[in-house]
C-alpha cells in the first residue's frame, strides 16, 4: 500500500471506537510487557501483572463503565457490549494468564472463578459480570508466595505446555474450597470440563487431591 493511500484510508474511516481501543491496547501492553518482557533473558518471571486499577474512561455507545472485583481489587473500566469476560480480562485489564483458547466453551482452558465458582470466561459477557467477584490465576499466588494448589501442581509436574494449567488450578481450588478432601471421582468430575491436549490428567488429579 502506498503512503498516500494509507493516509487517505485512515482518515476516511475515522475509526469511531479508536479511543477506547487505544485505551485497551495501553492496558494490555502493560500485561504483555510484564509477562513477556523487554528483557531477552527467559527467566521464570517473578512479577505478576497487576490490574491497572480504577480508570475513568468514557466509551462509545456500545458499552458502559462496569465495576468488578478482580483478584481482590475493585476495577471500573469501560466494557464493550460484545466483549466476553475473557476478552475483557486479557485485553481490557491486561490479565493474560487466562488464555485465549477455543473461544466456544468446549475446552475449559479459560476457566476463572466468579464468586468462587468455575466459569468459562469465553462464554460469559463481561457486561454480565457487573459487581462480580472474579479470581484469575494471577490472583492466586505469586512466584514468591504460591497458593498450595500451585505448589502441588509444581510438586507433581502436573503440566506440560501449561495452556490448561490455570484452569485446572482454579477449578481445583474451587473444589477444595467446598470440600477439603475430595475423592478421586469427585476430582475427576470437577475437572472433566477442561481439556489437556498434552495429556497430564493423571498428574492433575493427583495434584488436586494432594493440595
Amino acid at each position: 500500500m502506498s503512503e498516500e493511500k494509507k493516509t487517505e484510508k485512515t482518515e476516511k474511516k475515522g475509526v469511531s471506537r479508536r479511543g477506547f481501543i487505544q485505551g485497551a491496547v495501553a492496558g494490555l501492553v502493560v500485561g504483555a510487557a510484564a509477562t513477556y518482557g523487554a528483557t531477552t533473558m527467559m527467566q521464570p518471571p517473578t512479577a505478576t501483572p497487576k490490574p491497572t486499577g480504577p480508570v475513568e474512561m468514557v466509551g462509545p455507545v456500545d458499552g458502559k463503565l462496569i465495576t468488578m472485583t478482580i483478584n481482590g481489587k475493585t476495577i471500573t473500566k469501560y466494557v464493550s457490549a460484545r466483549w466476553t469476560l475473557q476478552k475483557y480480562l486479557r485485553e481490557g485489564v491486561g490479565l493474560v494468564g487466562t488464555p485465549e483458547a477455543c473461544d466456544n466453551g468446549s475446552c475449559g482452558n479459560c476457566t476463572v472463578l466468579i464468586n468462587g465458582n468455575p466459569i468459562l470466561s469465553c462464554c460469559m459477557l463481561a457486561m454480565d459480570c457487573a459487581d462480580a467477584d472474579i479470581t484469575t490465576i494471577e490472583g492466586l499466588g505469586t512466584p514468591d508466595s504460591l497458593h498450595p494448589m500451585q505448589q502441588s501442581f509444581i510438586k507433581n509436574t502436573a503440566f506440560q505446555c501449561g495452556g490448561c494449567t490455570p484452569a485446572f488450578i482454579l477449578a481445583g481450588k474451587a473444589l477444595k474450597d467446598k470440600k477439603s478432601s475430595p475423592s478421586e471421582d469427585e476430582v475427576r468430575e470437577a475437572v472433566s470440563g477442561i481439556i489437556c491436549r498434552c495429556g497430564t490428567y493423571e498428574r492433575v488429579v493427583k495434584a488436586i487431591m494432594e493440595a
Binding site: G14, V15, R17, R82, S106, F159, P166
Partner: protein, 805 residues
C-alpha cells in the same frame, strides 16, 4: 499411582564421573521443570500474549468448500466498514503469486482446493472490526465435486484430477494424474517369500486423518522497527521454516527479520512446526507499516492434520511365527504438497520399520515389496503430526502382527520377539541396525500387563479385553545446523543460547540438566535465553524428537570448550597445568584437591564474561538432511555407500491396554494401560510425562477423534464438534503404568551411537505411536472383531463391529 519403573542407572554413574562429568547428579534426575513457576502463576511467555502498541488485527475469509471455483469476490461493502484498514485478496499486488509453504498459495486465486483455504484477509483496527468486515466480504462459489478418497485419487483414471495444470510431476508413475510422488522398497524375492509362507493374511486397514487440536491457537505478531521487522511466532522452531518463509512472503532480507519464539510453544504436536501465521503477519506489517497480529483461531482444526492413510497389506509367515514376506501399498493424500512428500518417506520407513536414511529396524522382513502413493485430494492441509508417518503406519502394521499371532495361536509378545531384528543386523533397506531397545520395552510392557492378573469379571453385557503392541519411531536430526553458545559469567552463571524450543516437553529443563552435568556445576546457575534469530544460532529445532539428541550433543561439546577456556585462565593462577584441573560444584580445582581451587570469577578476571560454542560432531561426508534424497536407491529404497542419511536415534516403545465394553450399548472404557520406552531419561519425570501424555493423545485418536467430511466440507471444524479425550475417558491414577527401559552401554560401549548425548534419546513422538494397535487389539480381545479403521472406540464403532448399527 501405578507402576513407575525406571531401569537402574547405577552402572552409568562412575563412568560419567570418570569422564569429568558430575556422575549423574543432574543428568537422569527428577529436576523441577524450569517453566513451572511461570506456568502455575499464569505468567509464562506465550506468543498469544504478545501485543504491540498501535497494533492491527486480522480476520481471514476462508473457503467453506473442499473444491470450488470462485465466481465472484466483492470486498467493497467490507471496505467501507468502520475500522477497516485494508482487505487483501489474491489480486492484491502484495499477495499475487506468493506461496505460503510448498506449493500452497498464500491466498487462493479463482479456485479453492481445501476447506478453510484463505480467499481474503481483512486488516482492521480492532478484532471486532476485522470480524465484522470478514462477514461482509461477499464470495460466491461454484461448488465442485470434491475428491477425498486417497485410494481412488491415485488411480490411472481417478474420479477427478485435482490440479490442472499439475503442480508437481513425480519422477515416475507420471501416468497417474493426481500422484505427487511415490516411494518404493524392494528387498529379497517377494514371490518366493509368499511361496515359503504357511499362513498368508491380506487386508485393508485405515488410519484416520486427525487434528493436532492444541487448544491455544498458533499466532504471530509482527512489528516493523525502522528497516527491521520483529516477528513473534508461536512455533516449535524459529530457523528452518518461520524465518525464511516470513522473509520470502514479506520480501525482507533474512538479516532484517528477527523471529522471536515463545518461552513455551503452547502445545505443538507438529502443528506449530511449519504452518504458522508468521508469513502473513510479516507481510501485512510491512504492507501497512504497523504491527499486525494474526491468530489462526478460525481454522485451528484444519490448518494442519495427520494424513489419512489407507494401507493394503499382505503378510506371510511360517507356522512358527517367522515372517517370510510383506507386500504393502500405502495411500495418502493432500491438497498441496507441503509436507506430504516427506510424510511419505516416513510411511515407507514405517512399513519396513526403518527410517530410510536410518540404520535401525524393528522386525526382520526378508522379502519386502512396498509401494506408497501420495496424491492430490481435496482434504484439509496436512502437516507433521506427532509420530509423523509412523503412528498412522504402525496401526496397520502392528495390527497385522496381532492378527497373525491370533491365527497361529501365539502370544502377542512371542511373535514379536521371534522376529525382532538384532543389534548389528541389516534392515530390509540394507541399513545397519543399532541401539535396539525393542526387546526390553516389549517384555516390560507385557510383564506389567501380566501383573494385572486375570481379567476382572464384569456383569453382563460388559466384557473386558486386553491388547498389546510394539513400535518404533525414527528421530530425524539436523546434520549441519547445530550450533549453540554458552555465555559464562564471572559469577558462575551460564546462559544457554540455543534455539531448541520448549513446547511443553521440557526442553528448557533438560538443556539445563545437560549443562550442569557436563560442567559439573549447580543447576540453579544455568539459564536459557529467549529464542531470537537475531542472536541465537541455528541449533536443533523441536521436531522429530530431535532436540534432546541435537542440543544435548552440542551442549556437551560446548561444555568441553568452556572447560578448556576456564582451565587455561585458571592454570597460571593455581600454578598447575590446565590438564590437571577439573570443575567441581562450579569451582575450578586441582584434580582431587578441593583445597586448591578458585571460582570462575577469579579464573576469568578481569573478564566479566565469555562465550564458547559447541556443535554436533557429524562424520565427515555425512549428508545434510536438507539437501535432497540422500543416498538410498530411489527404486528399491536400498541404502547405498558408506553414509546414508542418518537417523539420530530410533526410539522403541510398547503399549498394553485394558478396556471394558458394553456389548449392548457399545459404551467403552479404558480401564488400565502401560507405556514403556527405551529412552535413557535425562529427566525421568519429563519422560514419564511424555509417555503417559502421549498415550492419552494416541488413545484419544484411537478411540474417537475423527473428521466428518461432506463433499470436502469438514463438519468437525471446531473443538466443539471434534471429540478430544477428557479425564473421564481414561483410567484412574492407580491404573496408569509406565516403564523406562534404557538401552545400556551405548554411550560407553563398543558400538556407541555417534551422536547421542550421554546415551539419551528423543522421546516426544514415539510415545504416541504404538497405542492405537494395542487399543484395537484390546477391542478385538473384548468383542472378537478386528477393527479395520481407527478410530474404533465410539459407541457407533463398537455397535457397527457387532453388527448392531
Amino acid at each position: 499411582m501405578g507402576t513407575r519403573f525406571v531401569g537402574s542407572l547405577e552402572p552409568f554413574k562412575d563412568k560419567m564421573a570418570a569422564q569429568g562429568y558430575s556422575g549423574l547428579r543432574y543428568m537422569s534426575q527428577r529436576v523441577e521443570d524450569w517453566n513451572s513457576k511461570s506456568i502455575v502463576t499464569g505468567t509464562a511467555g506465550y506468543t498469544i500474549n504478545q501485543y504491540a502498541p498501535n497494533m492491527l488485527y486480522t480476520r481471514f475469509v476462508r473457503s467453506p468448500y473442499g473444491s470450488a471455483k470462485i465466481t465472484s469476490l466483492d470486498t467493497s461493502a467490507a471496505e467501507r466498514m468502520p475500522g477497516v484498514v485494508e482487505i487483501y485478496t489474491a489480486k492484491s499486488p502484495e499477495f499475487a503469486g506468493k506461496l505460503y509453504l510448498g506449493d500452497i498459495p498464500m491466498i487462493a486465486d479463482g479456485e479453492v482446493f481445501f476447506h478453510s483455504q484463505p480467499v481474503a484477509i481483512v486488516v482492521a483496527e480492532t478484532q471486532e472490526a476485522a470480524d465484522d468486515a470478514a462477514h461482509a466480504v461477499s464470495v460466491k462459489y461454484e461448488v465442485q465435486e470434491a475428491l477425498n478418497d486417497v485410494v481412488a485419487a491415485r488411480d490411472l483414471n481417478p474420479p477427478k484430477v485435482v490440479h490442472t495444470p499439475r503442480l508437481i510431476t513425480p519422477p515416475f508413475e507420471a501416468e497417474r494424474p493426481n500422484v505427487i510422488n511415490c516411494f518404493y522398497v524392494r528387498s529379497g524375492d517377494i514371490e518366493q517369500g509368499f511361496a515359503d509362507a504357511d499362513v498368508i493374511l491380506e487386508d485393508e486397514i485405515e488410519c484416520q486423518s486427525s487434528a493436532h487440536a492444541y487448544l491455544i491457537p498458533t499466532s504471530a505478531t509482527a512489528q516493523p522497527q525502522g528497516d527491521l521487522m520483529k516477528l513473534w511466532v508461536d512455533v516449535q522452531n524459529i530457523h528452518p521454516v518461520p524465518w525464511p518463509t516470513a522473509a520470502a512472503a514479506a520480501e525482507i532480507p533474512l538479516d532484517k527479520l528477527n523471529v522471536i519464539g515463545p518461552q513455551i510453544a503452547s502445545g505443538g504436536f507438529g502443528g506449530k512446526n511449519c504452518g504458522t501465521p508468521g508469513p502473513y503477519a510479516a507481510l501485512l506489517a510491512k504492507s501497512t507499516g504497523r504491527p499486525v497480529r494474526v491468530v489462526f483461531d478460525d481454522n485451528r482444526l484444519l490448518h494442519a492434520s495427520r494424513v489419512w492413510l489407507v494401507a493394503q497389506i499382505k503378510i506371510g509367515a511360517k507356522n512358527d511365527g517367522k515372517f517370510t514376506a510383506i507386500e504393502v501399498t500405502y495411500n495418502i493424500g493432500t491438497p498441496y504438497a507441503v509436507f506430504s512428500l516427506t510424510d511419505m518417506e516416513r510411511a515407507r520407513e514405517a512399513v519396513t520399520c526403518t527410517y530410510h536414511w536410518g540404520h535401525r529396524d524393528l522386525y526382520e522382513r526378508p522379502n519386502v515389496m512396498f509401494t506408497a502413493y501420495d496424491s492430490y485430494v481435496n482434504n484439509c492441509e496436512t502437516m507433521s503430526h506427532r509420530g509423523f508417518g509412523v503412528m498412522e503406519s504402525l496401526f496397520p502394521m502392528e495390527q497385522m502382527i496381532n492378527m497373525m499371532a491370533e491365527k497361529l495361536s501365539m502370544s502377542k509378545l512371542d511373535i514379536r520377539l521371534l522376529n525382532l531384528v538384532k543389534e548389528g543386523e541389516r534392515s530390509a533397506q540394507n541399513e545397519i541396525v543399532r541401539s535396539h531397545g525393542a526387546e526390553g520395552v516389549q517384555k516390560k510392557a507385557y510383564e506389567i500387563m501380566e501383573s494385572w492378573g486375570p481379567k476382572p469379571s464384569v456383569p453382563e453385557p460388559w466384557v473386558v479385553g486386553r491388547g498389546f503392541s510394539g513400535g518404533n519411531k525414527y528421530s530425524q536430526g539436523d546434520m549441519v545446523h547445530n550450533l549453540i553458545f554458552l555465555k559464562l559469567r564471572n559469577n558462575g552463571i551460564v546462559d544457554i543460547i540455543a534455539d531448541s524450543m520448549d513446547i511443553g516437553q521440557g526442553m528448557n529443563t533438560i538443556s539445563r540438566q545437560f549443562v550442569a552435568e557436563a560442567m559439573n556445576m549447580p543447576i540453579e546457575n544455568v539459564r536459557k535465553v529467549e529464542v531470537n534469530t537475531a542472536y541465537v544460532p541455528w541449533t536443533s529445532d523441536s521436531f522429530s524428537s530431535s532436540a534432546t539428541d541435537d542440543t544435548g550433543q552440542a551442549i556437551i561439546d560446548a561444555a568441553k570448550n568452556a572447560k578448556a577456556q576456564l582451565f587455561e585462565w585458571a592454570a597460571p593462577k593455581l600454578g598447575v597445568s590446565a590438564s590437571n584441573l577439573e570443575t567441581v560444584d562450579g569451582m575450578i580445582q586441582v584434580k582431587g584437591d578441593p583445597e586448591k581451587s578458585i571460582s570462575w570469577g577469579d579464573a576469568m578476571a578481569p573478564r566479566p564474561h565469555t562465550i564458547v560454542q559447541g556443535s554436533k560432531n557429524w562424520p565427515v561426508g555425512a549428508p545434510n538432511d536438507y539437501d535432497g534424497p540422500g543416498t538410498n536407491d530411489y527404486y528399491t529404497g536400498q541404502a547405498l555407500g558408506p553414509y546414508f542419511r542418518i537417523v539420530m536415534n530410533m526410539n522403541f516403545m510398547s503399549n498394553a491396554v485394558e478396556v471394558m465394553i458394553n456389548k449392548e450399548t457399545g459404551e467403552l472404557k479404558v480401564t488400565k494401560f502401560v507405556t514403556t520406552n527405551d529412552a535413557l531419561p535425562v529427566n525421568p519425570t519429563t519422560c514419564e510425562g511424555q509417555m503417559i501424555g502421549g498415550t492419552y493423545h494416541g488413545l484419544s485418536q484411537g478411540m474417537f477423534e475423527d473428521y466428518v467430511i461432506d463433499n470436502g466440507s469438514y463438519m468437525t471444524d471446531t473443538i466443539l464438534d471434534y471429540k478430544e479425550a477428557t479425564v473421564l475417558d481414561f483410567p484412574k491414577v492407580d491404573d496408569v503404568h509406565s516403564g523406562i527401559v534404557p538401552v545400556w552401554g551405548e554411550y560407553f560401549g563398543e558400538n556407541p551411537r555417534i551422536d547421542c548425548p550421554f546415551g539419551a534419546k528423543g522421546i516426544g513422538e514415539g510415545v504416541i505411536c504404538a497405542i492405537i494397535p494395542a487399543f484395537a487389539d484390546a477391542v478385538h480381545d473384548a468383542i472378537g472383531v478386528w477393527p479395520k479403521r481407527s478410530p474404533c472406540g465410539t459407541q457407533y464403532d463398537i455397535l457397527k463391529a457387532l453388527g448392531k448399527a
